[in-house]
Symmetry: C2
Subunit: 227 residues, 2 copies
Amino acid sequence: MDKAGYQLTDFLHGLSGKQGDEIIRRGTTRDLKAQTVLFHEGDPARQTYLVLKGRLKLGKVHELGKEVLIRYIGPGELAAMITVLEGRDYPVTAETVGETRVVGWDRRTMLQIMAECPQLSINMIRNSMDRLEDLQSRYLELHAEQVEKRIARSLLRIMKQSGRRSGDEIIIDFPISRQELADYTGTTLYTVSRTLSAWEKKGWVKSKRARIIIADPHALVLFSEKG
Amino acid sequence: MDKAGYQLTDFLHGLSGKQGDEIIRRGTTRDLKAQTVLFHEGDPARQTYLVLKGRLKLGKVHELGKEVLIRYIGPGELAAMITVLEGRDYPVTAETVGETRVVGWDRRTMLQIMAECPQLSINMIRNSMDRLEDLQSRYLELHAEQVEKRIARSLLRIMKQSGRRSGDEIIIDFPISRQELADYTGTTLYTVSRTLSAWEKKGWVKSKRARIIIADPHALVLFSEKG
DNA sequence: TTGTTTGTTTGCGCTGGCGCAAAGACAGTG
DNA sequence: CACTGTCTTTGCGCCAGCGCAAACAAACAA
């Protein structure tokens, strides 16, 4: 359990490592395998989770098949804040992407902790605001932007959140299939595949099965902004 | 300024009328004409607003023309919570729909009030959660649902938030143009117009210029769920 | 090795719904 | 009243991108 140096988006931002550890100790830490469902859309919300290591993906499904990928949740970020409110259900499903360590608190504990440490409320509000903004932008794009540009923006978003630099290239360091990228962008598997193939020919990206490397980030940014 | 009985979605939920009035007194109350821009997307966030009377609409624009209507804000709800965070810009533009009374607080005051009254933090979190859920659902729909169903759902959403019953019919009690309904739904003026015309023939809705009456809510609900 | 599973690519045809254009309806003003 | 600006309706043509189908490729197991 690493201490000290909680970052800006962090739930524990502004707290000392000691305070953070104490708070983590009051929850239940769990290690999860890849592709484990942590909670299901529609189930009563019992725990709020903080990701310590690894990554969750939050998805929402539509009657019969269609799915959207709302967001990836990385280390330091909360999932299911909704739990602090009484009698709510999870609005999304959370599944681990790789091996993932989370800590969970139930409502009572969470409210206690928040009462003792008002900074946490601010951090939660910051996090909700950030997510709301993100989704507002994507909502706008989904309506106003062409698919190819949206795919570009999606890749760049994911890259910012989880990219690992390697020379000029940027590696997205977790497996993401064409289908998932489609769900995240709001398009289809086929369109994503066609688009990535085209970009591969231009040398903008390289990709293997479920692995994407952005070879020319600059070109992608230009494309996403202009066309 | 009406006291007592703040409702569930309210910012002042759980407070006595007296406490609420005191908090309102510490802000700046303003009466605005219809179609007044309260704040602009991109401007530095200086004030958080609570709507006391009337209605705001929050919109976001895309480079050149295209616009989405993120949400209507009615009495009791907050706009621009983002202000409590340092150095942020408004992510949307807020414009009054009819005559509207709001009260605004700057960040310092807001943080003080929140520190004195932790319940407000919970209320703010509740409100962000609700909005996030709303937007997540609409994001899913925008991707997964056909336009006509989306228009139906949009109408029903607006109806729930601002409908006035009159016999079997439900009147949406503020002016909303085809263009606005299109921006809210994520489609075009033309498609909305064609759709409403068709529904008018079926007797589901009646509409005059910028006024919509839902004549057969039940039929609309059925249609939005099945088709 | 072979077989199985799971993911990816690409050709091809189809259509939902966008958006122009032009006419019509309504509200407000002087 | 006529005049002006704003909102609405509808016909029509077009195309982005969806989705089937079928082949292909990579990963893993036995």
